[in-house]
Amino acid sequence: MSAKKTKQIAIYGKGGIGKSTTTSNISAALADAGYKVMQFGCDPKADSTNTLRGGEYIPSVLDLLSEKRRVDAHEAIFLGFGGIYCVEAGGPAPGVGCAGRGIITAVELLKQQRIFEELDLDYVIYDVLGDVVCGGFAVPIREGIAEHVFTVSSADFMAIYAANNLFKGIEKYSNSGGALLGGIIANSMNTDFHREIIDDFAARTKTQIVQYVPRSLTVTQAELQGKTTIEAAPDSAQADVYRALAKRIAEHTDSKVPTALNPKELREWSAGWADQLIEIERASERARVAA
């Protein structure tokens, strides 16, 4: 066992925004670069690591815990692409029990059994479900777990609201040794105004964009094969984007406390953008008619 420090990173974002896709590609790129990586899915759906394992589901920590009172964490760790250790926290069926407590329990279980040290990991990447709705989903940003948080967000307002909520969570825990914000991974960036919106949000909240990730058919094709883009299309331009992102995250050292917008600021900010978008729409319509 070495004394090196495992770099722990948490990736948050609204449901369906591409967190698991992005996280898995970061893990794959880091593994490709020779690092020892664990990807830890923190979502009751337990599908974060699917594309690292040929589309296959793995039994989650909580699946095991539902069968017996004491769980050996090794039984919940599976090897995936490039030797990535894949773990899914799992959780209860929708509508019952407490998924937040499930996440806490699963993370604690691996910590208690000192798995990160034993596996001599360089990176643990937590892929955390949606919004910071309750204490359980804030676990990876609380003291002693992840040091850096990144959020995946598109220019869609609901995704930005979720990111803003995450920033509130980070602000809350920042004084008590919690994780700080590395930045925004801007996903589905296909037009200039997408970039403008997300850039403006980053500026307003005093954070940075780590990488712009365009929407790409390559990703969809890879996922249909149950693979990451790094594995399925390593020579594609999209794979280069993910490798660049992984490199930036690997080199990233200084995270910061973001300045979340309050509800009024957020409303005014989005209303301002809504007006601009209507103007852009009108301008392009005028141009079309003129042509």
Binding site: L62, L65, G91, A93, V96, G97, C98, R101, G102, T105
Partner: protein
């Protein structure tokens, strides 16, 4: 412009809305209402909660409080799901189902009442659907969501009562029986003397010609009485506030009227007034007068004998008293002390956290302790504050009489006073059938107060 349906009040929230840490508590949590179920003969609570919840509640209520014992089906008998991490994460309904199934096989009861603790209520266990499954098979099971964060055991008590009424007693559109009354009064087990007191209240009501669904305690007929609730002529709420919610529900459900008398009568004065009011409401006044007269003959014969001691004893009898108890006992005993013993109130403290909407009415009752004596009640739950208030009260040159709980032991020594443990927790009393209310209970209370006083320096 955002406009709410009701404007927010200015300033700090009232005492009833405030919360915070308290020391030396004087009630249990909502799930303590497991003992409400256990107080009904042949009824067993099933506790769906974490390890230790059920034990803490019943130990506080039934051991540290008069060593009453958990009852036939309460206390340590009550089955528990003992919910742990697995039930938190995945929900505990499977475990509850298994527990009810096993309970029905092993335990013999007329009715089982599932009470829930914080865990199932927080994670949102659908306890209702589990219990309805058993109900549809004809099993006598009801459920009450009594998670501790919902309030104290007074809150839990009304939740349990309502659960039994709605899920077990059910609909009724038959005739009502004149002269049959449902009694809603002291909180079983919380009030150390509830068994004897309910027995005495039943004796009084029967004395004036009524038949009583006592509902709780050894003198109750158990679930047959609960089934008979809708047949009663009326509901009698004999307490400052507890039971009002249940009575209002019964009024709505069965169109059954209720009579609210905040004062549990202690001593002949109060008993005569209260019984006359009830008799007038029920239409049995004639019989009541004969009963009251007979009771007063006996009562005042004893008081006459007592008065020799009371007027002649020269070695320091209390002149002023402080009381810290639940609203029902605080009001009942204060009125007795003022009106029948001629004592003056030094501090009047209500400790059961009555809902805000009842507080003005309770305070008004205390203001009218007697025609010439006004009292100011304080609503406090924290023993530190309660002790501060009692310590700073003016007791004159006589030993203070403190009507309180075990928590006042050290304070009574400090003030060189006389302590009567009449409220939860009463850990230096063993209480079975003893009563402090009505005619007979008042005499017993006198004996106890003055035995304690004269033996104070022995």
């Amino acid at each position: 412009m955002v406009v709410a349906l009701k404007e927010r009040g200015d300033g700090l929230p009232g005492a009833a809305e405030q919360s915070g840490p308290i020391e030396q508590l004087r009630y249990a949590c909502s799930m303590g209402a497991m003992q409400t179920a256990a107080a009904i003969p042949r009824v067993i609570p099933i506790t769906h909660c974490g390890p230790g919840c059920s034990d803490k509640q019943h130990n506080a209520l039934t051991a540290a409080n008069g060593y009453q014992g958990g009852g036939w089906g309460g206390g340590g008998v009550a089955p528990s799901s003992n919910a742990t991490q697995r039930e938190v994460i995945f929900g505990g309904t499977d475990r509850l189902e298994e527990l009810i199934e096993a309970t029905l096989k092993i335990l013999d009861a007329d009715l089982f009442v599932v009470v829930t603790g914080c865990i199932p209520d927080l994670v949102g266990d659908d306890v209702g659907s589990v219990v309805r499954g058993f109900q549809s098979r004809g099993a006598p099971v009801v459920y009450a969501e009594t998670g501790g964060f919902r309030g104290n055991n007074f809150t839990g008590h009304e939740i349990v009562a309502r659960a039994i009424i709605d899920q077990f007693v059910g609909a009724y559109d038959g005739e009502r029986e004149p002269g049959l009354v449902n009694l809603w009064s002291l909180l079983p087990y919380q009030n150390t003397f509830w068994r004897g007191d309910l027995g005495e209240i039943k004796r009084l009501l029967e004395g004036i010609g009524l038949r009583v669904n006592l509902l709780f305690g050894p003198d109750s007929g158990g679930i047959a009485e609960w089934k008979a609730i809708p047949r009663a002529q009326f509901n009698l709420v004999l307490s400052p506030w507890l039971g009002l919610e249940t009575a209002a529900h019964l009024q709505e459900k069965y169109g059954q009227p209720f009579l609210h008398i905040p004062l549990i009568p202690v001593g002949a004065k109060a008993a005569g007034e209260v019984l006359r009011e009830i008799a007038a409401f029920a239409g049995v006044s004639e019989r009541a007068e004969a009963f009251i007269a007979a009771e007063e003959r006996t009562y005042y014969t004893y008081i006459e004998a007592f008065s020799e001691f009371y007027s002649q004893y020269r070695w320091g009898l209390p002149a002023r008293f402080a009381i810290a108890a639940d609203a029902a006992y605080a009001l009942a005993l204060s009125k007795f002390a003022v009106r029948q013993l001629g004592l003056l109130p030094a501090r009047l403290i209500v400790t059961d956290n009555p809902p805000g909407e009842y507080r003005d009415a309770i305070a008004a009752e205390f203001r009218a302790l007697d025609h010439d004596t006004e009292g100011t009640v304080e609503f406090l739950e924290d023993s530190y504050l309660i002790h501060q208030q009692i310590r700073s009260a003016a007791f004159g040159h006589k030993p203070p009489l403190i009507l309180g709980s075990t928590w006042e032991r050290d304070l009574a020594k400090e003030l060189k006073g006389v302590l009567m443990e009449i409220a939860f927790p009463a850990s230096y009393e063993v209480v079975l059938t003893r009563s402090n209310v009505g005619y007979r209970g008042a005499i017993t209370l006198l004996e106890r107060i003055y035995s304690t006083t004269v033996s104070r320096t022995a």
